[in-house]
């Protein structure tokens, strides 16, 4: 890839042999009709040192990927409900099976991808319209509440990160019993800090499944992976840790 990476090069220089192993990890990025951030997600994978593999929603095989990112956008125009039609794509049933299997395929859903994961019942709850009823785009501070998932292990517990948030249907809801269970099991992965941008219950920005291989969140880590292009704080690269986390976990063999 010609675009390569201040960050990727820095990582490669730090540990050339490790970088080669990282590049061997294949992260699939699924494109649905109406996906918007698939190319940014693939670029984030490459900047983190991995190999991005383009997947098409109508594919019926997972192409030997080691993990999958379901990117943001407006799949099927958000018709019916955000994510409701994409959830039944042929590739999604493969992803759901692989995520629930003993292999525990790591899956990250971002924004519309998070909505698809809740519609798929890989993650509990649902997203409804922002409580203020408007589309909102801003740099958002999150606290990493659980750094033991496949996608958060390169962060410190309690670390605050700033990544872009942009959505209209971003209000996370679930019934009280589900929320209590998420909290008790440490499955609230991220919480909004300082400002709840959409009325999400208990300031929840992202959650994981019980095994920690499936993570979904509304804000966009893939838009904060390169100096000069993300939020101004921390060089704008606070999102990179999602992708280095899963790559390091995959290479390290830790599941």
């Amino acid at each position: 890839m010609t675009e390569l990476p201040l960050i990727g090069e820095a990582a490669a220089a730090a540990d050339a042999s490790g970088a080669r192993e990282l590049a061997g990890a294949r992260i699939g990025v699924v494109t649905f009709p109406g996906s918007l951030d698939d190319r940014d997600a693939a670029r984030a994978v490459r900047l983190a040192g991995g190999t991005a593999v383009s997947l098409w929603h109508a594919d019926t095989v997972l192409a030997d990927v080691d993990a999958v990112v379901i990117p943001g956008g407006f799949s099927y125009g958000d018709y019916l409900r955000a994510g409701a039609i994409s959830r039944f794509a042929p590739l999604m049933s493969k992803i759901v099976d692989a995520a629930n299997s003993d292999a525990k395929l790591p899956v990250l859903g971002i924004c519309n991808g998070f909505q698809i994961l809740t519609e798929s019942h890989l993650l509990p709850g649902s997203m409804i319209k922002n409580d203020h009823l408007k589309f909102l785009c801003r740099d958002q501070v999150l606290r990493v509440e659980n750094n033991s998932t496949m996608w958060t292990s390169d962060y410190a517990a309690g670390q605050e990160i700033t990544i872009p948030l942009k959505n209209q249907d971003g209000q996370y809801i679930a019934d009280e019993k589900t929320l209590d269970a998420l909290e008790a099991e440490g499955r609230v992965a991220f919480r909004y800090v300082g400002f709840n941008p959409n009325g999400s219950r208990r300031d929840i920005a992202g959650i994981s499944n019980a095994a920690g291989n499936v993570v979904g969140l509304m804000p966009h880590p893939e838009h904060a992976v390169e100096t000069g292009y993300g939020p101004e704080s921390n060089a704008g690269t606070d999102g990179l840790g999602f992708f280095t986390s899963v790559l390091n976990k995959l290479v390290g063999g830790a599941k």
Partner: protein, 83 residues
Amino acid sequence: MPRIVVDVMLKPEILDPQGKAIVGALPRLGFTSFSAVRQGKRFELTVDGEVTDAILAQAREAAETLLSNPVIEDVVNVEVVEA
């Protein structure tokens, strides 16, 4: 041709911004008797031929799996309407 009508409503405890916007607009037009509005979705499934019990069962299943999300919505009605 007969149609199967499926009505889906947001659960009562879920915010319905469209309904809120409508209830705010009604009094401006002089409709002052309505204290709340909830907006739902109506699906019309056209059937080529007779609606059998099996087809109606399919419609109910579709209503629960694709047409509604049980986390936020209820299927409040499934009925056959002759053309």
